[in-house]
Every structure is written in C-alpha cells, then in structure tokens.
Subunit: 402 residues, 2 copies
C-alpha cells in the first residue's frame, strides 16, 4: 500500500475557501495513493486560545493542552466534511483515536509512539485519513500538545511510522529560499537542501519548518518536500546529504532579530568564574548562544559577552542580579537591538574562506561584528539590528546566490 | 462517598468572569462533598460552530459532532484552570476519558452507559471532576453529541450513574416559574414541581430543562434542582409526585410560538383517508400534534386541521403536495401565526372544570380557540399568535397563580 503524508499549516487553512483549495490537492493525490492528511489549526485560532488561557494561567498544564487542541479538532472536521461533500472517502482521526502516544510534558510533549493499526485498517473503507496535528495522548490518557509548530513534527513522525513514500509540507511559500524574499528580492527557491542545512536554517531564524521535525526526519530518513498550497509546482526537498549532488559553498543566508546581547564587565580572571555565571543561567533554562570573552588590559579583570533569545532576557536579568549580589562581577548591560546573521552550507566542510569572505563583505559595508559563532556547516555573526537587511543582501550577493 | 452534580449552562459561562463566579459555587460545595461539574459550552460558541459547519454540510455527520464538541472542551478546561488557580483539586474529563458510551446517532445520540470507575478512582486525588456535557463516545470510538441542550441530559445521567445525592442545574433564572416572567410580571417561582408537570412544561415551550433530561430523571428518580448561578437561594425542585404535598389545580402556564397550523379542505368522508394523509407525514418524521376534524354540512366532505412545529412546515408542504396529486383532498392552507397556550397541573387528574375555566376566560377576552388537545395533566389550546401575551396573563390570573 503506497501511503503519502500531506501536511497543511494554518495559513493554508485560514478560511473555508483556503480549506477548500487544500482539499482539492488532497483529492488529486488520493486517486493515486492512500493519503494521510495532517492539519494545523486555522490561522489565528491557536493564538486566540492561548490568549484566553494565559489570562488565567501562564504555566504549562494539561488543561491548557485540552483547550489548545480544539483548533485542530475543528480544522480536521471541516476538511473531512468538504472532502466528503465531493465524494471523497475521508474520515478524521484525533490523537487519542490513533493513538499518538507522547511524554507527559504538557505544552511541549515528545512523541513516543504512533500506532498504525487503526488507520491502516480504515484504509479498506477510506482513502484519506485526516489527522489532528500538534497533539498526542499522555500515559495518563490526557491530551498533550507538542509546542508551537508541532504539526510539522506530527507529519514527519506519521510519515516515518507509516513508511510513507512522501511527506509534503504545504505552506504559504514555494519552498525554502536562499534568503527571506521580503528582504532579498532576488532570493531563489532551493531545490534540494540537506537535513543538516535545514536544521541550521530552522534554528537560525528561517520559519519554514519546526526544528524538531527536521531532526526527526533526519533520524528516520523521511524525505520532506516543502511546497506551496496555492501554486502547483515542486518545492524544496529536504534530503540526506548523499541525495544532494551539488554541494554549494553556501546554500542560504538566514537571520534572527529575536536575539539579545548581555555584556558583563569586571570579572576577576580566575578559574571557575564562568561556571558561576553560566551555571545559574543554565539552571533557569536560559539558552546562552554566542559567547565572547575579553581579558582586560591590566590582566586582572575580564569582560564577557553572550547572546540569548530576547524572550528570556527578563528572566536572565533576575538571575544576573542574584549573581551580582555575590560580587562575582561588577556590572552588566543588555542590548536587544541586535541581529544574528548566518551563512549555511554543506560545502563549508570542504572549502575554506567562507568566514573570510563574510568579514570582508561586512567590513566593506562598515558593519561592526559583535560576536561570532561557527559550526561545521554554518557561520553566524551578531551585528547591530539596524544593519540586518543590508548585511543579508550583501552576503546573499557575495556568496553568489543572487 | 457523598457525590453531588452541578451543571452550568452556557449563559452561566458566557465570559471568564461568569466562569469565575460559577467556580466559586463549586469551591463552596467541594468542601462538603465530592463534586462532578457538568458544563455546556460558553454562550454563543456552539451556535457559531453550527454556523461554520452548516455552510458545508446540513446533515448529521460524525465530523459535525467532532467539531461541535470543542465548545465544552474549552469551557471545562477554563473552569479547571480557574479552580486550580485557587487551590481546588480539580481536573477535566472528556466523554471519551470517562467514557460516556452512546448510540451512533450523530447529532442526537442517546446515552447507553457511563463508567464510574475512572472518576471514582480520581477522587482519591481530586475533589472536583469537571465533565464535558452534551457529548459521548460511539461504539466506533468517535465523538457523538446529544442534541441541543444535551448537557442537562449528561448531568442527570451522571447523577443517576454515580448515585449523586443532588443534581443541581444552574441557569440564568431562579427556577421554574408559573409563567414566563417577561410576559407575566407577577409570575412566581415554583418550589416543587413533579416530573410529569416539568415534562409537559418542557415540551410545551418552557425553555428551562431539556425534555429528555426530565424523562431520564423520572426514570432513575434523580431529584433535580433548577437554580440561579447568580443568586444564592433555593430554586425549583423537580421531584416525584409523592414528594410534592400540595397538588395545585394548575402549576403553570406555558406557551409556544413555534407552531404552525395546516387546514386541509375537501376530504371525502370515507375510511382510510386520514391514514393516507398522516401516514406519509409520519414517514417523513413530521410530528403532528393537535388534530381537529370537521364533517362538512353536506356530509360528503370533511375539513382537517392539525398543528406541527414551524420548523417542519416546509417539509410538510412538500409531502402534502404529493398527497394532493393523488386527489386525496382538494386544497390546503397553512398559517404560522399561531400560538399554543397550555395549563399544566397534577391537580387536573382529580378535579374537573379546568377546561371550562380556560374556555370561559379566553371567551371573555374574545380570543378564538382554533384547536384543543388535552392529557391527564395538561390542557392546550391553539390561538392566534397576536393574543399570546393576553391569553397567558389572563389564564395565569384565572387559575390563581398571581
């Protein structure tokens, strides 16, 4: 039995008209294969549910998940009614009907197992199984949710469990681009991208796929296609390295404005001091990213700069105030008008000179680099936020992506 | 273990503020007993879901039920969060978690069984179980709904299954009144009413309790209290006949404007003609109520008048057009500007003169009676809709209810 997975995000389901259009893609595919459709909530629905809940309770709670999961329950029902009205043999599946078993980490649960029996059995009567994304069932038999963007993860996990031949993620763009087209008008759609590159892109600001879904696809070798729900043409395939013939030096440029910078001054230059700062931050679940340490000229005191997600800045400040009380350092200052620009490409592993090119380009544009971090396949720099667009455009051109 | 059931309707849950107020009633009760709370959706939510669904599909379908059931899923989640924020040990229960098993008549399912094990077990950890009303689980493991107002039925069925000592139905009025207070300003709250009287009232237009829930309560001897969620005082108890000491001649006056009248003329006066008219109507699930037959003066042709719910008039007209084609009768006309006024009371069984009083009162007010129907404990008349308020007020006074 050939099975394909088709996932539609909230913007592709924003109105009944949108759902109708998406349903026509499903109708076309179900003539060739059995189809498992995975849906998000209609655009805006989950946000308004979150608003309602957050007025009462801001912490994770199984009741939050019960409430938030209703958005997908509605969208799958509507999609099924539309398909059935056109004679397609479709039916819905909530996570507890399948079931999709998850951990009990309400609000950010991890998928543990997916039973394929019920849906496979249903394919003797139905051609399309419409699954509620973003949610699962805990060991206590309560509804969980997988965190924002979790429907991507549902789709990939289902593709893996059902050994689907395709996992198509329909969205409002035509695929993954070499850069954000709203900033770089001549950004190009990428035809093939490796899991590793996609992972870096997702975690460095490209909002196409949830990071966890890419990790899962890589682990289970699920080929993902990201494509438009509006236009009928091939999108971007996310594949294993060996499936991608040409390895460009740089595949794409991404950026994130959700960064904040913290600079700590007057740190005595002795062992264990870093731990006394980063230890408490880690204990508070604050994700520190780029770290730069400068020893002062007198050799006694050091400065320390690091970045963290802007959303964690207030929490971090509280932790830092506590550390400061113990005289670990003298002062600190924060800056959230910063931006992280990254160049990503498998080709970097075998070719040198990528970093040099980046520094030269930014230097020529008089853009100051505040911090640097690198991995095997990416190089990121922190710059002042006001230079974001200029930097992205310049680098896009420098690496021959125009 | 003493268990009580508290049910709140949509108007008592219209906003977070309303839910908050309702939760305080729950908090108070759960200090004395274990509490099972049954909730409707927040006011307006189910209607807007119905609107969305009916744009695609107007027939009953399991997907409709999946969508419609989300309203209660949200209200129980919010109630639980609010209770927990005040330290009450509460948790939610969807119909599939309990489970509440129903027939597979989607959109109007009937409760078949309720397992008490899971909730009873949970009472070692929790004091309050918050149950989604209006819904159940079919044998196919899919969500069903019980029809509008079904949360009353859920509450009574749960009270019966858990042998609850109380089944309190909280609403936006103080109880059951001798007549609609918006029409009869000096209508009084009834302290005790029998199941039979309540059944007649519900089916004759009083919108306090769903008829099915009263039937169920009568069958299982569940004492219902209808009371206000806003004001803390006793409401109306719906009880067995032997619990009600005084049996008033008439307990209340109700009315329904949702009626339509059909008059068929030129029916040959011979056996089997009635069946050839009412047979096809019954086959189309049209509920005919009052029937009046007049033989014409020449003794050859008869006229037939009957009433039916206004909502079924269009369907009935189609059936009648078909019958007419077979020359069963000559013509028919319809009128939906009619109203049914009923006087209800257990006392009627032992005392005569109720009907006479009604005819005399309406006659004095020059109100023409179009049809009459009676049962052991009620008498209903059909009148022109414009006289509804006058008739209700006059009868309320005639029977000494002012």
């Amino acid at each position: 039995m050939n099975i394909i997975v088709m996932k539609f995000g909230g913007t592709s389901l924003a109105t009944i008209e949108h759902i109708n259009r998406a349903s026509k893609r499903v109708e076309k595919e179900c003539k060739k294969s059995k189809v498992i459709v995975v849906l998000s909530a209609m655009a805006g629905v989950t946000n308004s549910l979150v608003d309602q809940v957050s007025k009462i309770n801001s912490q994770s709670d199984s009741e939050n998940d019960l409430i938030l999961s209703t958005g997908e329950q509605i969208s799958i029902g509507l999609m099924s009614l539309i398909l059935k009205s056109r004679g397609v043999r479709a039916r819905t599946w909530t996570s507890w009907q399948i079931p999709i078993r998850t951990s009990s980490d309400y609000g950010m649960a991890r998928i543990e197992s997916i039973s394929s029996d019920n849906i496979i059995k249903s394919f003797s009567t139905y051609d399309v199984a419409i699954v509620a994304g973003f949610q699962g069932l805990s060991q206590e038999n309560r509804i969980t949710t997988l965190g924002r963007g979790g429907s991507d993860t549902t789709a990939v996990a289902i593709a893996a469990s059902f050994k689907a031949s395709q996992c198509d993620i329909y969205t409002d763009v035509e695929g993954v681009y070499t850069a954000n087209p709203s900033i770089v008008p001549n950004a190009k759609k990428i035809d093939f991208i490796t899991y590793e590159e996609m992972l870096e892109m997702s975690s460095l600001g490209a909002k196409v796929l949830q990071t966890r879904s890419v990790e899962l696809a890589m682990k289970h070798n699920v080929i993902i296609q990201v494509l438009s729900s509006q236009i009928d043409k091939p999108g971007t395939f996310v594949v294993n390295e060996d499936k991608k013939m040409e390895k460009e030096l740089v595949s794409g440029i991404s950026f994130s404005k959700d960064e904040a910078k913290v600079t700590i001054s007057g740190i005595p230059d002795k062992p264990g001091v870093s731990a006394s700062i980063f230890g408490p931050l880690a204990d508070s679940n604050i994700n520190v990213d780029m770290i730069v340490q400068n020893v002062s000229q007198d050799g006694k005191n050091a400065n320390l700069t690091f970045t963290l997600p802007q959303s964690e800045l207030i929490k971090a400040e509280k932790v830092l105030e506590n550390i400061k009380k113990n005289n670990i350092f003298q002062t600190y200052k924060t800056d959230n008008k910063v931006s992280k620009i990254s160049a990503i490409g498998m080709g970097m592993r075998s070719q040198a000179g990528v970093a040099k090119k980046m520094f030269k380009t930014l230097g020529e544009k008089n853009i100051n680099i505040l911090a640097i971090s690198t991995s095997e396949i990416k190089i990121s720099v922190l710059i002042s936020e006001e230079h974001t667009e200029l930097a992205v455009r310049s680098l896009h051109s420098t690496y021959g992506l125009d």
